[in-house]
């Protein structure tokens, strides 16, 4: 997808120049969106239109631009304005705040793709041996003197692609699906995962401890062992209860096979943490033959890139948990490179944290028993997320069957 911003000025309404330009865009097979439109208040006053042109490829873009330029369309020529960061961890005044959409900045008359796009960051621009480079940088990574884009001039954002009518999700209609045939939806998710893997991109799984509490851990474990997951984000809780289950057969002290709370079972999770701490970590516990199964075990075996991020209510935590949240964010930023699909199951905290880091181009599914989680995620800017309101055990059981066959 290639885009360009064009402007039209003059008596473009009475002259039908605007209509003509829009008709030309349509007839040359490109898509457009009117970004700004100021209509002259009197006959003598001119009007101004700013139009984003979206073409499937460079050739069609150039063809369309060539045509509309004949009718007065001007291609935006402004370069981005740059200002140095005044101190470490501080952006310059008026810094451009990013969205999670594909973004370009114009430096010395060339549009440069902003690398590692992420919402709520700044755009750092630097000169390299091969030319200018623009990258998305969170506040805490700004260093004094780094050049950041200020204002909106010379910044171009590609709007979120319209969802294709024929996509596997067209039948969902709404963003949050409650009253929909769940099995069909799981099929569609499975197909999306297959497509992502087939295209060489990674699949990210973000999970909460309810996966273990509801007895869904074995389904997730199956999916991981079959190699469908490349990256896993979770907190101390998912890993802890998974290990508790692996060591004691309980989750929060409840035996998952009988559903009965065991005597002193509430201590199990802390004893599990203590055991792993004593051995130095999950991998070490596996090497010592202590940890023999479960989600975390499967991740090590399947070589999944795991980031466990800590939070204020953590017990322990496990040695594998990153307790500095900024460090954890950075670790997650590194891990999402190359991710094409994110599946978020039964966690509000980690879903939103991950949503904040993901470019809008990543296909995102958010599965939760509570519609609020899904709504919170989209309200915080992850508009690309498809919400699936259902029980995570049902979802993962179905997904495991879709991806790995019936057991």
């Amino acid at each position: 997808m290639r885009t360009e911003i064009i402007t039209l000025d003059g008596h473009i309404i009475d002259s039908l120049t605007l209509s003509k330009v829009l008709d030309i865009l349509v007839s040359t097979g490109v898509d457009y969106e009117i970004r700004r439109f100021e209509i002259g208040k009197t006959h003598d006053e001119t009007s101004h239109a700013e139009i984003l042109v979206r073409a499937p490829d460079e050739e069609s873009l150039q063809r369309a631009l060539h045509e509309v330029q004949q009718h007065g369309a001007v291609i935006s020529q402004e370069n981005a304005k740059l200002q140095p960061a005044p101190q470490d961890g501080v952006f310059p005044d008026g810094f451009y705040s990013t969205t999670n959409l594909e973004t370009f900045v114009r430096i010395e008359d060339t549009w440069i793709l902003v690398e590692r796009i992420e919402m709520d960051c700044g755009i750092r621009v630097s000169r390299t041996d091969t030319g200018w480079r623009a990258e998305c940088v969170p506040l805490h990574r700004a260093r004094k003197g780094d050049l950041f884009v200020v204002g909106t001039a010379g910044v171009r954002v590609t709007p979120a692609p319209r969802r294709e009518a024929e996509s596997v999700f067209h039948f969902m209609g709404s963003e949050v699906s409650i009253e929909k045939p769940k099995a069909r939806i799981v099929q569609a998710v499975a197909r999306a995962i297959r497509d992502t893997k087939a295209s060489g991109r990674k699949v990210l799984f973000v999970g909460g401890p309810a996966i273990v509490h509801t007895g869904a851990a074995p389904y997730l474990e199956r999916i991981i062992r079959a190699g469908w997951i490349d990256v896993l984000f979770a907190g101390n809780a998912l890993a802890t209860h998974d290990i508790e289950y692996a060591l004691y057969g309980t989750s929060l002290g409840v035996a998952l096979d009988t559903g009965i709370a065991e005597t002193h079972g509430h201590e199990h999770h802390l004893r599990a943490i203590n055991t792993i701490r004593a051995l130095g970590g999950i991998r070490q516990a596996m090497e010592k033959g202590v940890l023999k199964g479960g989600i975390m075990h499967a991740c090590v075996v399947a070589n999944v890139h795991v980031v466990l991020a800590g939070s204020i209510r953590d017990d322990g935590p496990l040695p594998d948990v990153i307790t500095d949240v900024m460090q954890a964010q950075d670790a997650m930023r590194e891990a999402i490179q190359g991710v094409g699909l994110a599946l978020m199951v039964a966690t509000t905290l980690h879903s939103i944290a991950t949503g904040n880091l993901l470019p809008a181009s990543v296909t995102t599914f958010c599965v939760d028993a509570d519609a609020d989680t899904v709504i919170k995620l989209t309200d915080r800017g992850s508009h690309q997320a498809f919400g699936i309101v259902t029980d995570c055990a049902f979802f993962l059981k179905e997904l495991a069957e879709q991806l790995c066959g019936k057991e």
Binding site: H11, D14, S15, L16, D44, Q70, H71
Partner: protein, 263 residues
């Protein structure tokens, strides 16, 4: 009385081909051209005050003063920036004349071709402007800033009608006479939506019927256009046919030979 600018055809000639009408093998009869110009001049002189700019030997088309520029205010002129280098040599001569006559001279940016009254015509509350053949649309917006009036852009689509004034003339503030075939569909809609119209048939448009000079109720029209003449006469206009054959060989006629300085 209106005031207009004309240029005697002393150095008029056909030395290059820069429009669909010009063919070096079809040379104008220069003696006849002089007679035709003189006749037009005599007619104009009766109804308008005529100023003359001295012709320059290196400018065979300088006779077409409509392309000198466009009056945008009281003694203010927006000088043309010709598309073709063959005619760019006229610019300093016209500039000098305007400056010597107390005009403030404005110019277009280098990359914005603009051929004066050939492509932007006064139509009362607004101006009509042609583009894509000689003047580019960028000039319309800039001109509207000087004119402080609406400028309606009309796309010309046939090389034979390369200036707006070869395909359209304004009869009065409400009425436009034009040849629809010279314009694209959008332009035709714009014209029809804003004006009462009289259509010129192709045969008469090819005889430059649209390249007429209107002063009050007199229309100085290239000879050989009986249909549009009849329509105009029915509306009470006096149509004076002026033979223009030798200028049509260069792609111009009555209106191209006259630039309005004051109305």
């Amino acid at each position: 009385m209106p005031r207009v600018l004309m240029c005697p055809p002393d150095h008029y000639a056909l030395r290059y081909e820069i429009n669909a009408w010009m063919h070096l093998e079809n040379q104008p009869d220069l003696a006849l051209a002089r007679q035709q110009w003189q006749r037009l001049y005599e007619h104009v002189r009766r109804i308008a005050q005529v100023e003359l700019v001295s012709p320059a030997p290196e400018c065979p088309d300088m006779v077409f003063t409509a392309n000198a520029g466009l009056i945008v205010g009281d003694r203010e002129v927006l000088l043309s920036r010709f598309r073709h280098p063959e005619r760019r040599v006229e610019e300093p001569h016209f500039r000098r004349w305007f400056e010597e006559h107390g005009y403030t001279v404005y110019t277009m940016p280098e990359d914005c071709p603009f051929e004066g009254e050939g492509d932007i015509l006064y139509a009362g509350e607004r101006y009509l402007a042609g583009y894509r053949k000689r003047t580019e649309i960028c000039a319309h917006r800039l001109a509207s800033e000087y004119l402080k009036h609406e400028v309606l852009s009309l796309e010309l689509v046939d090389d034979r009608w390369y200036h707006l004034d070869t395909a359209l003339f304004v009869l009065d503030e409400r009425t436009v006479v034009y040849y629809p075939g010279a314009f694209d569909l959008y332009a035709r809609r714009v014209i029809e939506e804003h004006f009462d119209t009289l259509h010129v048939v192709e045969e008469e448009a090819l005889r430059f019927a649209c390249n007429s000079v209107v002063i009050d109720h007199t229309v100085l029209m290239p000879a050989g256009c009986p249909l549009i003449t009849a329509l105009l006469e029915r509306r009470g206009y006096r149509v004076i046919p002026v033979p223009m054959s030798e200028f049509i060989k260069s792609g111009g006629a009555c209106k191209c030979l006259v630039m309005f300085l004051e109305r």
